[in-house]
């Protein structure tokens, strides 16, 4: 008689109702990445500017005689400027393979044969990237604000600039959504994560180069909307109540940014399917 019955047995336990599978996808995706040392290094690298700014806030609060620049909302805006580089690195590292690798391994038909909708699959994958992006933008941004209060021992700055709380939240979220959905859309177009990474970097740098050329020709920055990154910079300036850096109306930059997110979602809707129909 066997010690343990290794035959197939019917399952008598409970099941979770459909609708929560995206959390399973997100959790598995995050844990899978956090097991990689290289990624942990990249993620920690994203906190280097935070350390620099924290020191700055400390010195400013405790040694006013050596502080050159006062703490203003611009400091927080500039912090986001530094984070752009790390956002790019993490987007490429995490996002390029999120769907492309599943397409390479024919995993979509496995996923979509389970009780989860396509939107849940996309949400789960997007959540992986968005969570890591927010961990290097929203979290350090809010912590900097908290440190400013702690180091100065006063709520005066925060009270005067209360808009910084929603500003940090909105800027972080907009940046994460744009990066996540454009990257996921590109990832859904290929079976090679490497190719997706090159495509994404190409689009970012190529549109910036085009903008540079157009600026030189027209001697103005009115056409900044052609560059993916420039639109976000323009809108982030406005969110932090700073003077926009380009001549393009910020509303145009916002519309282009939102349109890019919408187009990316539309691409995902077409590409994430259980079966690829070639006609």
């Amino acid at each position: 008689m066997p010690i343990h019955d290794q035959s197939y047995r019917r399952y008598r336990g409970g099941k979770v109702m459909p609708g929560q599978a995206w959390t399973v996808i997100a959790r598995a995706g995050m844990l899978n990445l956090l097991r990689k040392r290289v990624f942990l290094g990249v993620l920690l690298g994203g906190w280097i500017p935070f350390v620099g700014y924290a020191i700055w806030l400390y010195v400013n609060a405790n040694y006013p005689q050596v502080s050159i620049i006062a703490v203003t909302p611009k400091l927080f805006r500039d912090f986001f400027g530094w984070q752009d580089f790390f956002v790019f690195i993490i987007t490429v590292y995490v996002g390029s393979g999120l769907i492309a690798n599943d397409r390479r391994a024919n995993a979509l038909q496995i996923y979509l044969s389970k009780p989860l909708a396509r939107s849940e699959y996309i949400l789960g994958k997007a959540a992986v990237l968005i969570a890591f992006l927010l961990s290097i933008t929203l979290v350090p941004g809010m912590l900097l604000l908290l440190l400013q209060v702690l180091f100065s021992g006063s709520f005066e700055f925060l009270r005067k600039n209360l808009f910084l709380i929603p500003a940090i939240g909105t800027a972080s979220l907009l940046q994460a959504l744009l990066a996540a959905f454009t990257m996921l859309a590109l990832s859904s177009l290929s079976k090679s994560a490497r190719f997706v990474a090159i495509m994404y970097a190409g689009i970012i740098f190529f549109t910036l180069a085009i903008f540079g050329v157009l600026s030189a020709i027209t001697a103005s920055t009115r056409l900044s909307w052609v560059a993916l990154g420039a639109n976000l910079q323009q809108v982030t300036d406005v969110i932090f109540r700073q003077t926009p850096r380009y001549q393009t109306p910020w509303q145009v930059s916002l519309i282009v940014t939102l349109a890019l997110i919408a187009v990316s979602i539309s691409v995902l809707e077409r590409r994430v399917r259980g079966v690829e129909v070639v006609t």
């Binding site: 035959s7 391994a105 006609t279």
Partner: protein, 314 residues
């Protein structure tokens, strides 16, 4: 759902890819137990399974799975079915046990239960010793087994198996068929086995639905489709073949060609098959038409005969 209710019902289902109709007004029903979905490559078997899973939307018709409408309640259906795809499919970067447990969680199992079930089903499909290996290092046969494991982990009421023995060596194939047979006959799991391999279907299934060119060619219990009483003979002749075939047809016998120059001839009971006169009937017919009988061997009606008859092969 009563025991007699079909697990899958299709009513006038048409699926069109571009300009090509993959399913043309298909009406069929799959009873409880093991049902084979048989047909040559391109007959529309996989398309039917994908339509039932909600991967492709039919342009016409209605489908129900486990009494639930596919168009209206796809998620509830998918929570109760398991799908083993035809092509190689896995989730990259996972070992077998993580992959199967992950699939269990996706299907709604709590994490602890999913892990326990993953170990159980991996042992059941014969991957117990290899369950901590990365799936990408698996052989083709092992990948087939892992696909079955992920389809079983959440204990589905109905399994869709799309060409489950593809690429397997003879021993692995036999083991896979044994598993399928065990699931259907001992574990009360309903299943639809899509295959172009007649012996696989014949060994594992009770009923069969034969498809050809996007349409149903025949359906029903295999025993019934094998036809009324009668005997099948393997026959090879020398002489005027066309006129002999005409004579066979005229005498009420059916025939199908097989490999080389041997044909399978079905002699119905009405021509004395049961009384042992079938051989005499064939010899007499051959003598009347001046052909030599070079080979005559009794056989039994197989699913191949059903398949050939349904597809109208001559």
């Amino acid at each position: 759902m009563t025991t007699n209710t079909p697990v899958v019902h299709l009513d006038g289902v048409t699926v069109i890819y571009g300009k090509n109709a993959a399913l043309k007004g298909v009406s069929a029903q799959f009873n409880r137990g093991a049902v084979g979905l048989l047909g040559p490559n391109g007959a529309g078997k996989s398309t039917m399974l994908k339509a039932l899973l909600g991967f492709v939307k039919p342009s016409q018709g209605r489908m129900t799975v486990l009494d639930l409408d596919v168009a209206q309640r796809p998620l509830e259906i998918r929570a109760r079915i398991g799908y083993m795809p035809e092509s190689d499919a896995h989730i990259p970067g996972m070992n077998a046990v993580s992959f199967v447990a992950y699939c269990g969680q996706l299907a709604g199992l709590p994490a602890v239960d999913a892990m326990q079930r993953a170990h159980e089903v991996l042992y059941y499909v014969g991957l117990g010793e290899a369950r901590y290996r990365n799936i990408e290092t698996y052989s083709t046969g092992m990948k087939q087994r892992i696909k079955l494991a992920q389809a079983l982990v959440h204990d589905p009421d109905l399994l869709f198996l799309d060409e489950p023995t593809n690429g397997m060596d003879p021993k692995g194939r036999d083991e896979m068929l044994e598993l399928i047979r065990d699931l259907a006959h001992n574990k009360n799991v309903n299943l639809i086995l899509s295959s172009h391999l007649l012996p696989d279907v014949e060994y594992t299934c009770d009923d069969v639905v034969v498809m050809d060119k996007g349409q149903i060619a025949a359906q029903g219990p295999i025993a019934q489709l094998k036809g009324p009483g009668g005997r099948v003979f393997e026959l090879r002749i020398k002489g005027d073949l066309p006129s002999f075939l005409e004579a066979l047809r005229g005498a009420g016998m059916e025939y199908t060609s097989t490999d080389e120059d041997v044909m399978r001839v079905f002699v119905p009971d009405s021509l004395g098959a049961n009384d042992g006169h079938a051989q005499h009937t064939l010899f007499a017919l051959a003598a009347r038409h001046g052909v030599q009988v070079r080979h005559l061997r009794p056989s039994i009606p197989t699913l191949e005969d059903v398949f050939a008859k349904a597809l109208g092969e001559k």
